[in-house]
Amino acid sequence: MADESVASSAHRSVSRSGRIAIIPIVEVALLAIFAVLPLVLQDYLTIFVTRVLILALLALSFDLVWGYAGIMSFGQALFFGAAGYSVALLARDLGITSVFIVLPASLVIGLLVSLALGSFLLLGRHPPTTIFVALGTLTGSYAAERLARGWYYLGGQNGIPSIPTMTAGSYELVEGPVYYYLAFATLVLVYLLCRFLVRSQFGLALAGMREQEARIAFFGYRVERLKAIVFTLAGAIAGLAGGLYAFHEGFVGPNMLGVVLSTQIVLYALFGGVGTLVGAVIGVIAIEMVSFWLADSYQQVWPIILGLLLLLVILFRPTGLIGLLVSERERVGTFGRRPRTLPRADHEGQHGPA
């Protein structure tokens, strides 16, 4: 399924073959590994990896807003936590635990909260600067965390414990391999959706917006609307991850909404390499795995090592881990499917379009 670039098809004189696309190989490899992991791992490790997959979903939502739309959002945890709290309340007060209600509900809540925050920050007469959006989302996430800590109905500091197990009909989706595959399927589905989107002509518009936001307005793009759409879509994905997380962990707390998780997600994605979707997933997997092994024995020193590691990546390798494997050209990617039958250019004359 490697898309060689359009040019090689459009014009033979500039052959571009010979360059194998690396990202699809990485994607397929990860898909294969994580499909079989639960069969190999002990139960508690499967549960640990399930958490990693859910966090990868959250990192994906950040990669969409920053990597593809140039919106620096420190608020993804806000949508993640808001959806988590909402489904926890649904379970606690109304006894709703069916996956067919919980997941769509968390998606919708993530969407609504990000729509509200997005329209406040992004739309309006003065186009906002990146710094304003970054600080606006950071403040939104911070205020939400403090509200959750202070609001007694939400369990305040303690959050909402003992969320019942998620059900599908009468079947209980208990944590372990079952919940793992639920999270895995969701991640793959959302990943493919994002991949389809960013490689479409819409993706080209995003690439244009990311590189020259002011310029493309003069072609007729309503830049603020594009940003709001991506921001809301990413918010929905973050919400979905929040719902999955709440039922997997069995409780929700102010930590799920807070600045720490928001910033952590930013660092995950930057570490892996933004703007490539698979980069964000790799970033989460890499840091969580290393953190799992390292933290056991160097547990006092671990956060310092991590801080230094991230500082070095941001300073010297802005394209992240994926940047090591993949050329800049492939990182930007191609847009829209290549028309199947191609009009042979100049000498064979023009006949109908594809």
């Binding site: 670039s5 359009v6 040019a7 090689s8 459009a10 014009h11 004189s13 500039v14 571009r16 989107l197 479409s200 002509q201 819409f202 080209l204 518009a205 690439a207 244009g208 590189e211 020259q212 002011a214 310029r215 493309i216 307005a217 003069f218 072609f219 007729g220 793009y221 309503r222 830049v223 759409i229 800049e328 050209r329 930007v332 191609t334 847009f335 829209g336 499917r337 028309p339 191609l342 009009p343 250019a345 100049d346 023009q350 379009p353 594809a354």
Partner: protein, 244 residues
């Protein structure tokens, strides 16, 4: 009725008055040159028309509609297109994708998401590339083009959505003599399809392609009319001799 009518355009930056009540009229299919010494307000006027700047006073009508305060996207959809002074092609994207980006700008959201116009637009992209002699470089990233070629790409992108009025801000800046000549040739066929307002220092380049000239000096219009009339006007020579 003229395609573009700018009336009494005033623009004040803090204490500097860049434009001091300027009128500009551009008819259908007219090539209109905008000249004047540095700092005379040419670029500011272009930006006010294109929507990059908001005039402090005055009104701009385009094809009968008041676009004085309209955002750039609305003006583009009304048929007005701009090429910036500093080249702003998208370096990381291929030449082909740059043109496609401009072409698809006014498609509906759903057609973008499902790439429905990818096929139909392919034809126009190739045609545009050939018209601006960039067909051979379609697959290369825009950054790999020469400075002149990047300017052509940007003109191509500005023309791609088939605007009714094209604003060109110093298209030949930094070009070699040969590239200037080719640019002149490239612009000729454009006349059939849309009118043009061009800011340029190279006076003989302007003379070749423009029908009407407007001369600006320190934010005021000192002469406007057919090329021959403007050339012979003493006021213009005086300004050019003393300022340039």
């Amino acid at each position: 009725m003229a395609l573009l009518e700018a009336r009494g355009i005033k623009k004040v930056f803090a204490r500097l008055t860049a434009l001091n009540g300027v009128d500009l009229t551009v008819a259908e299919n007219e090539f209109h040159g905008l000249i004047g010494p540095n700092g005379s307000g040419k670029s500011t006027l272009m930006k006010c028309i294109a929507g990059a700047e908001m005039p402090t006073q005055g009104a701009i009508h385009f094809a009968g509609r008041d676009i004085t305060a309209a955002p750039p996207a609305t003006r583009a959809r009304a048929g007005l297109s701009l090429k910036f002074q500093i080249t702003s092609v998208l370096p990381a994207l291929t030449v082909y994708d740059n043109v496609l980006l401009a072409l698809q700008a006014q498609d509906s959201l759903s057609s973008l998401v499902f790439s429905r116009t990818r096929g139909p637009l392919h034809e126009r992209v190739l045609h545009t590339l050939e018209q601006f002699r960039l067909a051979a470089r379609a697959g290369d990233p825009a950054a790999a083009l020469s400075h002149g070629q990047q300017q052509w790409l940007e003109i191509a992108m500005a023309l791609a959505p088939e605007p009714r009025l094209l604003l060109l801000d110093e298209p030949t800046a930094g070009m070699s003599r040969e590239e200037r000549r080719v640019t002149g040739e490239l612009l000729i066929p454009v006349k059939r399809r849309c009118s043009l307002v061009i800011v340029e220092h190279d006076l003989d380049f302007i003379r070749d392609i423009c029908d009407v000239l407007t001369v600006l000096d320190q934010g005021n219009v000192i002469e406007s009319g057919p090329v021959a009339q403007v050339q012979s006007s003493t006021k213009v020579q005086e300004v050019y001799l003393s300022r340039v």
